[in-house]
């Protein structure tokens, strides 16, 4: 990827030399100057960003930010403590370096710089986070429709205050129990088809009270036990509840769980809202990192071309850059999945190449794009896709060849693993489809939906798991069901379906055993509220 620069192409040589700084020490004035230079360049390239808020922090503060998933305000929970302890341990023992930056999807866009970084690294981070990620947050359709950058901080403040009030009123243990259970189901708390409304913290508080009353009224209706008049005929063709299977399990619980109290429902809602806020990030990792990496590379090489940074700066920058996009091969001990930075950066860089300097192959594969305006094409790719569709649409044969991708098919009904496609003419399409599928959240996470509730009987909740290529559920499943049981308050059944055939069933409390016994297995198993 870097051969163009390293090859000493004359167009990359600086026109005139007038560097912003020559030392590796940073100062606030220099940061400001780099920010201004990079910002002006980003403008030239047409990057549309939120205003930036760049905060310089120490490494301890970085560890704090790490363990609260980068959120500047977070509610208190032991799992963040666990995260913090392990980050602190690893850092102190030198097992890992801290990330150079953390950036928050908010308006203004907050980026953290670590004080230990050199001037080069600070400039890299500014280009990467404050202009790369920032423009992605502002431009990508998922972020635009799923998150509201201007209200997230307010909402976090509301959540933190609400949860600490609950802790005062109902006790730490009670609150922790509900949050634990919600966290276990966090990935099943997203409305995929509705766009949420942005509201401020004060508004949120007012609405929260209204909601509480409303919910109670609704619930009472659902669980009405008084028989209706003239029941006889209706009872036989009674409708299933819910009428359609529900994929948003947390939402279903918030609205329908029979025994939860108002404040507990609100906690469910808070976790659900945060899950929704993070949902686009989980779906755009490759694109987001690729976009930011592409732009820090493009912006800083452009700065060099204009003579605003020194060669020493470039050497240091290129070293970090190559570290970031290093992809160990599958048999290396360092292999830990496909590096999203590498994949994203390669696709975006190759897109630019296809636009500027297309080959015959490119014209065949990308007739619409080859030779078009690269800025517009890249912006289009950034705006209207998520990882899955982005890869399916833009992964080019050249990138597959460069990364030497191959696909293996692992079927537990056969004795051997088959290499089903490699980076050659006959394999490109299948390779691309499979890689895209790998980033489809629907394939990555088991598809589990609320199927029915026995409203007239024992109030038990039944979930269906629709298997993806016969893949079973993991060992954690009974554990998660216990959490679900705690929230729902009555029996839980989970059927794992391959087509129409039930291949496995999970129950909580486990069937055929004495309930008390089952619940006392371990001190950490949640008890029903």
């Amino acid at each position: 990827m870097l051969d163009k620069f390293a090859g000493g192409d004359d167009s990359q040589k600086p026109e005139s030399v007038n560097p912003i700084s020559t030392s590796s020490e940073w100062t606030f004035e220099l940061i400001q100057e780099y920010d201004r230079a990079i910002g002006a360049l980003a403008d030239e390239f047409g990057l549309d960003t939120y205003p930036n808020q760049i905060e310089v922090i120490s490494s301890e503060q970085m560890m704090d930010a790490y363990s609260s998933v980068g959120m500047p305000v977070g509610y208190n929970h032991w799992s963040f403590g666990k995260q913090f302890i392990s980050v602190e341990n690893n850092y102190q023992r030198g097992l890992m370096g801290l990330a150079y930056e953390i950036v928050i999807n908010s308006n203004p866009c907050i980026a953290y710089l670590m004080e230990e970084n050199t001037m080069t690294m600070q400039a890299l981070v500014i280009a990467h986070a404050s202009y790369g990620h920032n423009s992605f947050f502002k431009g990508n359709y998922l972020f635009r429709s799923w998150t509201d950058a201007s209200s997230i901080i307010d909402y976090l403040i509301f959540a933190k205050n609400y949860i600490s009030r609950c802790e005062e009123r109902h006790g730490l243990n009670e609150v922790e129990a509900v949050l634990d259970s919600c966290h276990a189901l966090m990935n099943y708390g997203v409305d995929r088809y509705k766009r949420p409304y942005p509201i401020s913290a004060i508004e949120e508080e007012r609405q929260q009270q209204e909601r509480e009353e409303y919910r109670q009224r609704q619930l009472n209706d659902l669980w009405r036990t008084i028989p209706k008049l003239g029941d006889g005929a209706e009872a036989s063709n009674e409708k299933r509840f819910p009428e359609e299977p529900q994929e948003n399990i947390l939402y279903f619980i918030e609205k329908n769980a029979p025994l939860l109290e108002g404040w507990q429902r609100e906690l469910v809602r808070i976790v659900r809202k945060l899950a929704q806020y993070f949902y686009p990030q989980r779906q755009t990792q490759v694109m987001n990192e690729g976009w930011a990496t592409f732009w820090h590379y493009t912006l800083l090489t452009e700065l060099y071309r204009r003579g605003r940074v020194t060669e020493g700066f470039m050497m240091e920058f290129l070293q970090s850059h190559t570290n970031v996009i290093y992809q160990p091969s599958f048999d290396s001990p360092y292999y830990n999945g496909i590096n999203p930075y590498t994949l994203g950066f390669s696709i975006f860089s190759d897109l630019r190449r296809i636009c500027e300097d297309p080959t015959d192959e490119d014209r065949r594969w990308f007739p619409d794009i080859a030779g078009s305006n690269w800025r517009e094409t890249l912006h289009f790719a950034m705006r209207d896709f998520k990882d899955e569709s982005f890869i399916l649409q833009f992964l080019s044969p050249k990138v597959m060849r460069d990364m030497k991708l191959f696909c293996i098919s692992d079927n537990d009904q056969e004795n051997e693993i088959v290499v089903s496609a490699i980076h050659d003419e006959s394999g490109y399409r299948q390779l691309r489809e499979n890689l895209a599928g790998q980033y489809n959240l629907g394939n990555r996470e088991p598809n589990i939906q609320v199927y029915s509730v026995d409203t007239r009987g024992d109030r038990s909740l039944t979930l269906n798991h629709t298997q993806h290529r016969r893949r079973p559920l993991s060992k954690d499943t009974p554990e998660v069901l216990r959490h679900l049981h705690r929230l729902w308050g009555f029996d839980i059944h989970l059927n794992s379906l391959n087509g129409d055939e039930i291949t496995a069933s999970y129950h909580c409390p486990e069937q055929g055993r004495d309930r008390q016994e089952g619940e006392e297995e371990s001190m950490l198993i949640p008890k029903p509220i």
Partner: protein
């Protein structure tokens, strides 16, 4: 437009609460680790922090995810020799290596979750649930420590303690009081002025109007002259210094260093004393320790000598008790001090001496001390001393405790037993 903010001076301990939540949740695990550590540590680093290790299984947060099996297609980078259609024999699954792909667990083996707790936290866990027998005397000990408390409002003070609200309220009251007469007068004049002006122009008395107007203006001016804020409006917060009662404790450590005590036994005794010392330090703001060692005669020594110097000889326990009695009388009147005694020995004593010990304890020591504990470090049968002490325990069941220690493993449990909260001890 970018804002650049220096946040380095903000607090860095944002995660402390979450860390404490974590410790709280895994108390049972940590306590066990602390208990184990107590037995395996050398004496000198009793009060250091500790590495705690918790099985990953116990702290994992469960999620719905795919298990192994079914049919998976995975794309991997870095192909070297494969071509389409190659068959690779399945390798036996090891760790979580085989399920990269879509599954969320990255196969992190089964290592324990290991982390460090600080000295403070270590001691918290070590002494958690322990209590000194609840007979804490507090008294006003001279004029050493004061507490600054609020004591209402005063008229004098330094500008730094100015109470703005009270001052403005006083100023407001003063202004009302000083001007109410005049303002009432103004109101009356204004009414008559209005009456006059409402008359038809022919009937109006221009001169009267002028006079009224000038009188109103004059009064207004005088009202305006009352100052907004005057010196005597100023109110100050009053702070006074209150002497603070302090609790003081003295601990007597009595150790047998006679020939019958071998090095291992002494080590155990030292461990016990050290635990006790750490515990007292945490319970009292001010603790003094008196070290007494004895063989046939007792001697007050400093810490270094108490723990490390060697001596041999016969055993007369009462010599130590006598010395303790003398020191108590001379230096630690029981009206001012919480007195604790701890004695360790192997139970050997000069035969006639045990009854003397009994007498000294009952007559001169027990009435003055908060708590007296005796540990006998011996694997053998008890001797006369133990029996005499048992009768002391019968007389002072709440103030006297005795236990036997056989080997190092017993020290911490015995210690916990001696000082476990009395509520549980009674039932």
């Amino acid at each position: 437009m970018s804002y650049i903010i220096d946040r380095r001076l903000n607090g860095k301990k944002k995660s402390t609460v979450n860390r404490q939540r974590f410790l709280r949740r895994y108390k049972a695990h940590i306590k066990k680790a602390v208990g184990d550590a107590m037995n395996s540590r050398s004496i000198m680093d009793m009060d250091k922090g500790e590495r705690i290790s918790i099985p990953t299984r116990d702290i994992s947060e469960p999620l719905f995810s795919h298990g192994n099996g079914g049919h998976t297609e995975r794309v991997l980078p870095g192909n070297k020799e494969f071509t389409a259609g190659d068959r690779i024999p399945r390798q036996p699954p090891k760790g979580g290596d085989g399920n990269g792909g879509g599954a969320s667990d990255s196969g992190e083996g089964v290592d324990d979750f290991v982390f460090q707790i600080s000295q403070e936290e270590f001691l918290d866990f070590m002494f958690e649930g322990l209590q000194l027998p609840n007979m804490i005397k507090r008294r006003l000990a001279g004029n050493e420590s004061f507490q600054v408390v609020r004591a209402g409002i005063s008229n004098e003070g330094t500008p730094g303690r100015l109470n703005v609200i009270r001052s403005l309220r006083a100023a407001h009251a003063r202004r009302i009081a000083l001007t109410s007469n005049k303002r009432r007068h103004i109101r009356n004049l204004e009414e008559s002025l209005e009456l006059e002006e409402q008359k038809e122009s022919a009937l109006r008395d221009q001169r009267k109007i002028e006079a009224l107007k000038s009188e109103i203006a004059e009064l207004r001016k005088r009202v305006g002259r009352v100052p907004f804020l005057d010196d005597f409006d100023l109110k100050y917060n009053l702070l006074i210094r209150q002497p603070k009662p302090r609790s003081r404790a003295v601990m007597f450590c009595l150790m047998d260093v006679s020939g019958s005590m071998n090095q291992a036994t002494k080590d155990m005794a030292k461990r016990f004393f050290l635990l006790l010392y750490l515990f007292l330090q945490r319970s009292y703001e001010y603790t003094e320790v008196v070290f007494i060692r004895h063989h046939t005669s007792a001697k007050e020594v400093d810490e270094e000598e108490f723990f490390y110097s060697r001596e041999t000889g016969g055993t007369i326990v009462s010599s130590a008790l006598k010395l303790m009695r003398r020191i108590m009388r001379d230096r630690y009147p029981d009206s001012e001090w919480n007195i604790y005694g701890a004695q360790a020995s192997d139970g050997d004593n000069w035969n006639d001496d045990s009854s003397t010990c009994h007498r000294i304890l009952i007559d001169d020591i027990m009435p003055h001390v908060q708590y007296y504990s005796y540990v006998e470090i011996t694997p053998r049968d008890h001797q006369a001393l133990w029996e005499e002490y048992e009768s002391v325990r019968a007389l002072f069941p709440n103030h006297f405790a005795m236990e036997q220690i056989v080997d190092v493993q017993d020290i911490y449990p015995v210690f916990r037993q001696l000082f476990s909260q009395k509520v549980t001890a009674r039932c």
